[in-house]
């Protein structure tokens, strides 16, 4: 770097302020416009519906039976949040701190659950561990009732652990190895280091993972339908109100009830995470992380991780094999029937889904980055509102968000008698309803990336950026050249989640798929729904392979950006 001459510096000093704020305001305006479109108008339309007489009655109905359904939802969310976060931590820890062969395989296996539609895993789990499950009944002769809370926690934890894993792993990679060296030279055992140094340092991302998992847990409705048994939750109540009775207002009323705990956890998490934030990154990595060798740490971590990987592998092996046999566990004769069926069924849907994903995922990541950057660096007060607003994308149950879209965008959006938007959703819309689906994908894909970016940004010492700024870089240049390379791991999380969420979202688009724009997941749900597990297995395997290919390409591209990965390979 050439030393900066004095005149240049003073020139920058004069012009810096207005230029910086200008670009911040432009980005803020863009972010606000997008948020109004994807999470403003639909939510307002829903609230209007929810606060009408029907909605209020349904709200009261949600607390019938001493609030049993409400409590069920909360318990489910808490269990999924705790189990998923712990598992995610263990997997991330093993990836980062343990030296072992086949780590890349473990990494991809850990990610596997997130790239299949969740109810597909549920069908595999029923096949394996149900009353007549191949493992529980076939192998051990037990009769286990997996339907209800146990099955739900298992499936949902499985589906959402990867979110926590990516989030926490991203944070591990940004830890300063000097901290661990200091702990070790001060005489701490590796176990003590784990408890007193490692865990506290990644607490913010553990808490944000918990938040996302809790909300996913209470919002999911596909799994309660498939494996919920008599464990009734609010999300499925919403679905039955909508799908069965077309009672949109009633569903919106119940959705409001669901929103309260989601927002509560959100505020608790914000408060804690901000208190516990530990700034560790001071710039370029100094040295590399030492692998952990202590048996007290390794044995529990590895065995926990191994059991988890075994479970994942079994479930996805079932999916894979199930696509090639007539009825897995009942009639195991080989057949191509399921794939032939999928080929004729999914001819349009596969291409459409891929295209929608490739458009939506980068947009979602971009939105997440913009929000994260504004929240942490430029607008600490107003930013909280932005953060909250973005998080609504996952805090609002999918069906209801989709319903909000159907309500808001089936006809033209009119403001003061001027048509500002043509219809965007439904078969009559511009683009055959594809635009509304992309908007939903962006809304649903954004929150995780946003959390990842915020966590990562909070870990990066602002002085690094300030240094660049005082050397004359504009805010955008700072993000592009300094901040982004330092949190490439968060970028991977955002893109990965954007892709997987788009390709596997189902509940949010049930109401806006159209004859012109067919999506793979809704066709898979139909197969599960109709009880044709074989077709669902085949279609899910195909979807997984497609997601893997897309993710592989995205990862390869992003790796070039990654300057700070210091996990031991």
């Amino acid at each position: 770097m050439t030393p900066v001459s004095v005149p240049a510096k003073s020139r920058h000093k004069r012009s810096r302020r207005p230029r910086e704020s200008a670009s911040v305001w432009v980005i803020l305006a863009c972010v606000l416009a997008v948020l109004v479109l994807i999470l403003g108008i639909p939510v307002i339309r829903l609230l209007t519906a929810a606060l009408g007489a029907t909605g209020r009655a349904a709200m009261a109905g949600a607390f019938a039976n001493h609030g049993e359904t409400f409590v069920h939802s909360i318990v489910l969310g808490l269990l999924v949040g705790v189990c998923g976060t712990i598992l995610g931590f263990v997997c991330a820890y093993v990836q980062t701190f343990v030296k072992m062969p086949g780590k890349k395989v473990v990494h991809w296996l850990t990610l596997l659950p997130t790239i299949s539609p969740p109810f597909a895993a549920a069908t595999a789990i029923i096949t394996l561990f149900g009353k007549r499950g191949m493992v529980t009944n076939g192998l051990f002769g037990m009769e286990v009732n997996i339907y209800g809370l146990p099955g739900l926690v298992m499936v949902l934890t499985m589906t959402f652990t990867p979110v926590a894993y990516l989030n926490i792993k991203g944070m591990f990679e940004n830890l300063d190895p000097a901290t661990f060296e200091a702990a070790s030279s001060l005489g701490a055992s590796e176990f003590q280091t784990l408890v007193k140094v490692t865990i506290p340092m990644v607490l913010p991302s553990m808490l944000s993972s918990f938040l996302v998992l809790f909300v996913e847990g209470i919002a999911d409705l596909a799994n309660p339908l498939v494996i919920g048994g008599d464990y009734r939750v609010l999300a499925s109540q919403i679905y039955f109100a909508v799908a069965g009775s077309g009672d949109v207002a009633g569903a919106a009323g119940v959705a409001l009830v669901l929103l309260v705990p989601a927002l509560t956890v959100f505020f608790i998490q914000k408060y804690w995470a901000n208190k516990k934030s530990v700034v560790t990154v001071t710039g370029k990595p100094t040295g590399s992380l030492k692998p952990v060798g202590s048996k007290a740490v390794l044995i529990p971590m590895l065995s926990f991780n191994f059991l988890w990987i075994l479970l994942v592998a079994m479930v996805y092996l079932t999916l894979l094999v199930g696509g090639f046999v007539k009825i897995l566990g009942v009639d195991n004769a080989f057949t191509w029937d399921h794939f032939t069926f999928v080929r004729s069924l999914g001819a349009d849907a596969i291409g459409t889904t891929l295209m929608l994903t490739l458009i939506a995922a980068p947009l979602a990541a971009l939105l997440a980055l913009a929000i994260g950057w504004l929240v942490v660096r430029h607008l600490p007060r107003f930013g909280r509102l932005l953060d909250l607003w973005g998080m609504l994308g996952v805090a609002i149950p999918g069906t209801v968000l989709g319903l909000g879209f159907a309500l808001a965008y089936s006809s033209s959006t009119v403001l003061f008698d001027y048509e500002i938007l043509p219809p965007l959703a439904g078969g009559l819309a511009v683009g055959g309803g594809a635009i509304a689906i992309i908007m939903v994908f962006v809304a649903r894909g954004d929150p995780t990336g946003q959390q990842a970016f915020i966590s990562a940004l909070q870990q990066i010492n602002p002085q690094v950026e300030e240094a660049a700024t005082s050397l004359g870089a504009s805010p955008l240049t700072v993000v592009r050249k300094v901040t982004l390379p330092l949190m490439s791991s968060a970028l991977v999380t955002a893109i990965t989640y954007g892709i997987t969420k788009s390709m596997t979202t189902i509940t949010a688009i049930i109401f806006i798929t159209t004859p012109e724009t067919k999506v793979m997941t809704s066709q898979i749900l139909d197969e599960v729904d109709a009880g044709r597990f074989g077709n669902a297995f085949a279609y899910s395997s195909l979807l997984i392979v497609l997601v893997l290919v897309v993710l592989g390409i995205a990862n390869a591209l992003l790796r070039q950006l990654n300057h700070s990965t210091r996990s031991i390979s």
């Binding site: 008599d230 799908a243 069965g244 009825i327 458009i359 109709a530």
Partner: protein
């Protein structure tokens, strides 16, 4: 320096993707607005929808698209997205009548329906039945043996404590069959709805899960997750043919409910001519003959159509005296009381 290049690449990639999004959105406009196309809401099983739409497109040259949706979902969508579909094919006649009550249906009597039995059509043309099947008990014989229960031939036999958490029942709100079962109970009790609610309260303890769709139960029974499924006989046949050879269909001796799967032309159809053509075609003997090959396992309503050899003979089943109008009128209140009194009650457990 390499950072700079990468940064630029990322920005360029993002821009090009945004442009692509805008372009692709524009490119798809209008693809469906030609009069030579028809858009169908299909409330039947996926393979059935696929075969029917393909066959129609082939015989008429009209571009045919469909979305498979449950009857309840179609009703919800007609409310939020009017004008999206031209025709609604499948689902119980009651649901079509409900849509007609809301003024969403254009009355049209398709050709080829003169020979149809009176119970399979509406004289005004608000709906026309194109298939029919009945509620049955779809039991897994090896599970029955383990539980020491014989295949049920009466509704009351489902209440035995041997079947605790072993019965599958479709949710009345989403699956037409669930509601059919409820309304059947009311008819069996001389129209007393409270008696029907009481029956399902008793049954509640034996129900493992209220499934979203009717066919789920036959699958669960086939795998032995449940012992008996309250399901359509056609779905049970379908599961047996799919490889669940343990399954067996029985009917309640006191009488069972049946569905008339109906077709209606929707109001404000963009492609009215094509919609009428589709309705005419679907009722033709040629189209109804397709059922035997799909195979749908539901019986075609056209008396001249051939009936597949594995289709349950509907004329042999003892049925209740079904009234489409009354069944439609009772639906809303009945389903609400199911949600409030039955599904959430723990009394019976």
């Amino acid at each position: 320096m390499s950072t700079k290049i990468h940064g630029a690449a990322v920005v360029a990639a993002t821009l090009s993707i945004v442009t692509l999004a805008a372009m692709s959105a524009c490119g798809k406009v209008d693809s469906s607005k030609k009069s030579g196309s028809v858009s169908i809401a299909c409330s039947q099983q996926e393979d059935f929808c696929q075969t029917i739409t393909k066959a129609f497109a082939k015989s008429s040259g009209i571009k045919t698209t469909y979305v498979r949706l449950g009857a309840g979902e179609v009703l919800a969508r007609l409310a939020t997205n009017p004008g999206e579909f031209d025709v609604w094919a499948g689902g119980q006649a009651e649901n079509h009548l409900l849509a007609d009550d809301k003024d969403w249906v254009e009355h049209y009597v398709p050709k080829n329906t003169n020979s149809l039995q009176q119970e399979y059509k509406d004289s005004k043309g608000s709906w026309t039945g194109f298939y029919t099947d009945s509620i049955a008990f779809c039991s897994n014989t090896s599970e029955l043996k383990k539980k020491n229960v014989k295949a049920p031939t009466s509704w009351n036999e489902l209440l035995t404590s041997n079947l605790k958490s072993s019965v599958a029942m479709p949710h009345p709100a989403t699956a037409g069959v669930g509601y059919m079962a409820m309304y059947t109970q009311a008819l069996l009790h001389g129209g007393n709805q409270q008696a029907a609610i009481d029956y399902f309260k008793q049954l509640n303890g034996n129900v493992m899960q209220y499934s979203k769709s009717a066919a789920t139960g036959t699958e669960q029974a086939g795998r032995g997750e449940v012992t008996v499924a309250i399901a359509l006989d056609s779905d049970c046949q379908k599961a047996i043919k799919a490889g669940y050879s343990d399954l067996k269909t029985t009917y309640p001796a006191e009488g069972t409910g049946y569905e008339v799967g109906a077709l209606s032309v929707l109001k404000n159809a963009r492609n009215k001519g094509s919609a009428h053509a589709f309705a005419d075609w679907l009722m033709s003997t040629d189209a109804q003959n397709l059922y035997a090959d799909v195979p749908s396992f539901a019986a075609p309503t056209n008396p001249k159509a051939k009936v597949g050899k594995d289709v349950s003979r509907q004329d042999k089943v003892k049925k209740v005296n079904w009234d489409v109008r009354k069944a439609a009128d009772a639906r809303d209140a009945f389903i609400k009381s199911f949600e409030n009194d039955v599904a959430s009650s723990k009394d019976a457990k």
